[in-house]
Symmetry: C2
Subunit: 329 residues, 2 copies
């Protein structure tokens, strides 16, 4: 009998999540039946989306939603042999029994010298989010200027690098000088620390006096309303996240967007990467290709210990991470 540690949401978040909203629980797992496998988590992902999705996808008492890289340690399913690694959408658990429907095998030719944790980062969901936002939503073209905020995060850091691969000018905003230094390492053309600049308006103007063709928005709220004023005619905005809004207890207010959207004929679209799930296998190969060629760098913000999952999660909502936040069991 295998015991699994799990993190339970015992109270819906109100504002910034607190330690007391979570409870560690030990469950005894049944033996896998025919068609099932037993998994042991190696790396777990904490992502900003968990904050808003907790409201719509979870009830109090549920195991926290989330994705992990796990090793198959028992198998009664020939598709997932013992020793293979999978990306499992099974929540915050050290062990789980799965019938395979929520599993994706890590690509068979995963290079030895690349950490499997990247299947949760630059070669996984955040990498594909960046790719689909750029290609499917923005239709970013060579020579255009792209703005990305939360640019040192798991998604933003990949966005900027893909835009560079595509021959664009990239302007990135982040919330600390260390993050801005990281963006420079990644090859961003213009960068600023939005917390220390005097005026966001001035910083956006200075970074691209002609304005922006595309804006990959991870932040929402005040930043987005300001950036809207700096878009070029026919500018496109991909709304990927709204981390400045997730912990609101009452909605933040800002100027309505209609007038600048009409005058500049702007397009704005919210998206979730699962819309292009059919492209995931080909997309992860492309991302891995760029990684191996040295065109895509990945940085991780590692937290050790399953018991630290809530702290790691609360940390990303406060901007503590540079790159992808990962918990190593």
């Amino acid at each position: 009998m295998v015991k699994s540690k799990t993190w339970i949401l015992i109270k819906h978040f109100d504002g910034l999540p607190k330690d007391s909203d979570f409870k560690l629980k030990v469950e005894e797992l049944p033996e896998p039946k025919d068609g099932e496998v037993l998994l042991e988590a190696a790396f777990l992902s904490v992502d900003p989306y968990m904050r808003p999705f907790s409201r719509v996808r979870m009830n109090e008492g549920d195991v926290m939603i989330g994705t992990q890289v796990a090793k198959v340690i028992q198998s009664k399913n020939p598709a997932f042999p013992v020793g293979s690694h999978v990306v499992a959408r099974c929540g915050w658990r050290t062990h789980s029994v799965s019938d395979g429907t929520d599993l994706t095998l890590v690509m068979s030719d995963w290079p030895q010298d690349v950490s499997l944790s990247l299947a949760l980062g630059a070669v996984g969901m955040p990498g594909m989010t960046a790719l689909y936002g750029i290609e499917e939503v923005l239709g970013l073209q060579k020579g255009e200027t792209l703005l990305v905020n939360a640019a040192a995060g798991a998604v933003g850091s990949v966005v900027g690098q893909i835009a560079k691969i595509k021959g664009c000018k990239v302007v990135g905003s982040a919330g600390s000088d260390a993050k801005v230094a990281f963006l420079k390492e990644l090859g961003f053309d213009e960068t600023f620390n939005y917390k220390t600049i005097g005026s966001l308006d001035e910083a956006l103007k200075q970074a691209s006096p002609d304005g922006y063709d595309c804006f990959f928005d991870n932040v929402g709220g005040h930043f987005s309303a300001t950036a809207l004023q700096h878009m070029k005619t026919f500018g496109r905005i991909a709304i990927c996240g709204g981390i400045s809004l997730y912990n609101d207890t009452t909605p933040q207010m800002g100027p309505y967007p209609q007038i600048p959207m009409i005058f500049k004929q702007l397009k704005m679209e919210g998206f979730i990467q699962s819309r292009w799930e059919h492209k995931h296998p080909e997309s992860s190969k492309r991302l891995m290709g760029w990684l191996k060629e040295g065109k895509l760098m990945s940085r991780e913000h590692l937290t050790k210990g399953f018991e630290n999952m809530p702290a790691a999660f609360i940390g990303i909502l406060q901007g503590e991470n540079i790159g992808k936040a990962i918990v190593m069991v």
Copy 2:
């Protein structure tokens, strides 16, 4: 020597335009030179767009921007013979001299029984705005549900009728019981007076409990923020106007749109009809075709007398018109 009356913007609007912002001026026009024509206005258009565009396209002292149907009364340009009618983008003037670059001939087979003023309405700019918003921006499909506000206006009334032609369910909002009665005449499926309903949220829910595939937005602000919550997944929003915002002296504030846009993967696009200018000839033919078949009804809100142009313009910004507001010289 011909004298032209013109309306001058003497002071940029601050809030709702006032009579004292305008001044009537009489100009002496030169004789038309080779390639030029002399025009006499028959019908002039007043449109909401003039309010926001006055800020970006005009200086104090300029003639008010606008379009008219005019008759050619002298011609030294064979493309525009004496007696022909043109749509002229020459502003608020009774007479003008033009080199033809700002003129479009009224279609040669314009039916005798259709007022030429419709070249400023259902078969003109507002009609084409409705058509492009539906076809180019929303991509409205048969069987979908469309929401339109300011639905009894020049654009909104055509939007609803085209959506009916396309086999859609149409929900329309307007600001008086007489306007709502007009929408029912036009065949709208669900209608309400937004000024007298208790809750916009409830009215939108009741009119389409499953939500909306498409939203043609002429109003902006609070209405739009509320409607956003009622869009279906992958809903599309065409931002055509923001009449609730045009007279703001300080920008109105509302909840930021990012979170609903992400969760429902919504698309929102601002547009101006001139983007599809190359389609205007074919589009006006289609609109005229629907009109002749009785599928498209047109109603006009007529004001007599060039001297009443400011009053007619202020009137539309206050919602006085049902259908297209036209000033007859």
